[in-house]
Assembly symmetry: C2
Homo-oligomer: 255 residues x 2
């Protein structure tokens, strides 16, 4: 059973995880960060020590590396506990990157977008767990279940696919919101007008598959409206191209 | 003041509007539809008569034409009340299409996606109102305010821009959800995993402008992850192109 955790990283993910684990009764031993001030801020919140990489103790049950993807490889070589498990929290890095750290390695990936300023109820956040052996997996699942009701065993290949899907569903959707925002602003309107529709679109897919939930001029092949929209976008050639491209993609995917 | 309403159309929009107006104390006189059965179903719900276009009375205070865009033009010539206001509920049709009907014409556009099966609280739905004179506008605003707290005066040009923005924010986002769904299915995963992230992405923009809310590999110019994603999409050339296109659009719009 995991009773003590060391954090490498003091960014958004570490911030939310450390606080939730502390609240679940886990001992947060130390917060290690290049940015000592960030480490200290978080350490204060969870009653831990702020340390540098050299000062990291080697006796915690779990080491959570919650830092930028490309930094994980660099740091991995310096996290070598006696017996503890070492995990990272990344969507796109394979488990093998941590081989150098320990015989017990894994992934502890919370599938959500985090900002320090915004509280998020971790209970509904999907945790994607992977371990290089079954006892590690069991320990990680047990730990994740203390802070979330949505714990899933996901291997590295699946996690990469999940991360790609998240880019479409979230980053690309958000880009569409941004374009809508710009178009409305240029007509003296505000994005607020679309909030109810955006919310409904996002929640509808919980009961209707998105393919069946599609509406609008593209799927109706309403060429008159499509042409009007293309004309309206004449001052935004990039968005005009994007409009044509996505319209075609919607139509093709429903052929 | 509008006390009596006739509906032309018995589809999704008519269904929700008629029931809400009835509940607000408005007399729903009649429901007119090519599909007599649909008209009868709705008429029963709101204690109205089901009629054909020829049987339409000419004394209602308001005639709401809630039918497909291209049918509005065809029907308009047959709706000629004595004094009543005539409106349509379309996002993309100008007000002038109704000139033939009456001296008092307008638009009564609820900006939401409706399905008969799914109840929607109209209170938060933005109603976009336009009238060809101020007394008509006043009457329509008064009526809309009985069923919604979100009533807006929007002219035809703005409404067209709003409709275009809605295509980006909703139809195109939904297409991104669909692609995510397909990618997950092909890895034995379910879209459920992304629900919390999709919800958070949709609600985050109520407090942070979408341009500032953007995250992910595109805006980070994380070429390694982008290249990995492009490789993962090798069996889906359409989605691979879309990925490249939207990634570039995100990067350009943040230059």
């Amino acid at each position: 059973m995991i009773r003590s955790v060391s954090f490498i990283g003091a960014g958004n993910v570490a911030w939310h995880l450390a606080k939730a684990l502390k609240q679940a009764g886990i001992n947060i031993v130390e917060i290690c960060s290049q940015h000592l001030q960030s480490a200290q801020e978080l350490a204060t919140q969870v009653n831990a020590k702020a340390v540098t990489l050299n000062e990291l103790n080697n006796k915690s049950d779990l080491y959570i590396i919650a830092i930028a993807d490309d930094a994980i490889v660099k740091v991995a070589g310096q996290v070598k506990p006696k017996n503890g498990i070492v995990v990272h929290t990344s969507g796109s890095i394979g488990i093998d990157t941590l081989k150098i750290c320990s015989n017990n390695i894994g992934v502890f990936y919370p599938l959500q977008t985090f900002s320090k300023q915004k509280n998020i109820d971790l209970k509904s956040v999907p945790f994607c767990i992977e371990g290089n052996n079954s006892s590690t997996e069991k320990s990680l699942i047990e730990l994740a279940s203390k802070i979330s009701n949505n714990v899933n065993l996901i291997n590295s290949n699946q996690r990469k696919q999940l991360h790609l899907a998240a880019v479409f569903a979230c980053n690309f959707s958000n880009h569409c919101y941004q374009i809508a925002d710009e178009l409305l602003n240029s007509s003296g309107l505000k994005l607020d007008l679309l909030f109810p529709l955006i919310k409904e679109t996002a929640s509808k897919i919980e009961t209707v598959a998105p393919k069946n939930a599609q509406t609008g001029p593209a799927i109706r092949h309403d060429e008159k409206v499509i042409q009007e929209h293309i004309n309206l976008l004449k001052d935004h050639p990039d968005y005009q191209n994007l409009y044509k491209f996505v319209t075609q993609s919607i139509q093709k995917s429903h052929e």
